[in-house]
Amino acid sequence: MKAFSYQRATSPMDAAAKATVTPGARFIAGGTNLLDLMKLEIEAPTHLIDVNGIGLDKIEKTEEGGLRIGALVRNTDLAAHEDVRRDYGLLSRALLAGASGQLRNKATTAGNLLQRTRCPYFYDTQQPCNKRKPGSGCSAIGGVSRQLAVVGASPACIATHPSDMAVALRALDAVVETVDAKGMARAIPIADFHRLPGETPDVETALTPGELITAVTLPKPAGGKHIYHKVRDRASYAFALVSVGAIVQKDGSGRVALGGVAHKPWRVEPADALLRRGAKPVIEHLLADAQPTAENSFKVTLVERTLAAVLAEARA
């Protein structure tokens, strides 16, 4: 691990201010992804700002009847929260489908949103990777791509976003709240939070340097059945090949977001309107521009069948 200096922040604004004046600084909360990457020197911050002591660890009701989830709420606590289990079951289910008990005890809401891809070439520092080293090329294109993106990718990058939680938040129309060094607050809809790779796959979110996530808010409960199906190579503790997060109402209408297929949680709102006609038209719409590789074209079929299973469960 490269050497770094370390500082504890005292408030969200203090954290943002410290990060803004220190080039190469990173926030650390749970650290479960950042420290892993620092050990491999894929991430090499010169300065760490520990944000664990600045609050932001509560789950509160909003005036609109929704929920405000503090950025530092641990994945375990979020999945187990009474209101989340009752009204946003999709979020609980997605969280519980990810990582291990030990990791969920540390991992935070904001950190989960900001976790980096698990593309094997991002991890292999001997290989070119535009996300790790901009301009060096993409080894995944033409390489081992079974796990990688089928839609929304670019000639520069075919990595996927690894989060289960983010798929649920996308279907739930969450909003990411931030603060900057000047104390300016901003609300970013989850749809705009993660970026597609384009020509700059190293830029993954809409955050500006030093900007700190303070909370994630959920609108008032949507009702319906909340279902998260994750298909992976092991029954537990593995990243998704594909996942489907859906909220399905009694009349068959609803919304759906996909994981494991793109650089961000994948939802195309007009596809929701096709849910009553079954999985096939929905997936055809969601993956209309899909350009799978020879190794991952199975995902197109797999995700359609996974959605079919979700819809069958919703009807049951």
Binding site: S5, G31, L35, D36, N52, R85, G89, Q102, L103
Partner: protein
Amino acid sequence: MQALEENGVSRRGVLIAGAGVIAATAAPGAEAQPMPQATVPVSFEVNGERRELTLDARTTLLDALREHLRLTGTKKGCDHGQCGACTVIVDGRRINSCLTLAVMHEGAKITTIEGLGRPDRLHPLQAAFVKHDGYQCGYCTPGQICSAVAMLDELKAGLPSHVSETLTERPQATDAELRERMSGNICRCGAYSNIQEAIREVAGVRA
């Protein structure tokens, strides 16, 4: 970092320059910023005993326990949060001690395998692992046991899991629940069936 090197002061040089808050030589035109210290004092409780350390900020909790406090019961397996051998209990919760910095645990209460039981007074889970032969080489065992202790507390507290049938009812100690909840602990020898027997006995799962 770039700016510092351009001024002929390498980051390494700054770090070696020592403890305490030091003012870095700023690039011309830039405001001088205080450089935070490179070694950091931290104080926490390990197995009921207050411990005070001054550590290179890079030191993981795992390395602090093993290398600085000589509590070598906690094992380093993958060092990347994938195997669970380093599992310890911090403020009542199991975590991977390899994926957290020691200096992030000011004031914490840490329990390692050494704090759970002693050779003459085993923790019930330690005794159950012995009885059911829940290991072969034993390397993953401290992590398995620390994980299982905290896992059973999670179950008792009613926390749901991926295999819980509903999110609204209290989860039961079933084989499926125990297996899912222990998936963060890998046993390279494959002693899983005996590990499961040991845990289910303490959890009170009926055959």
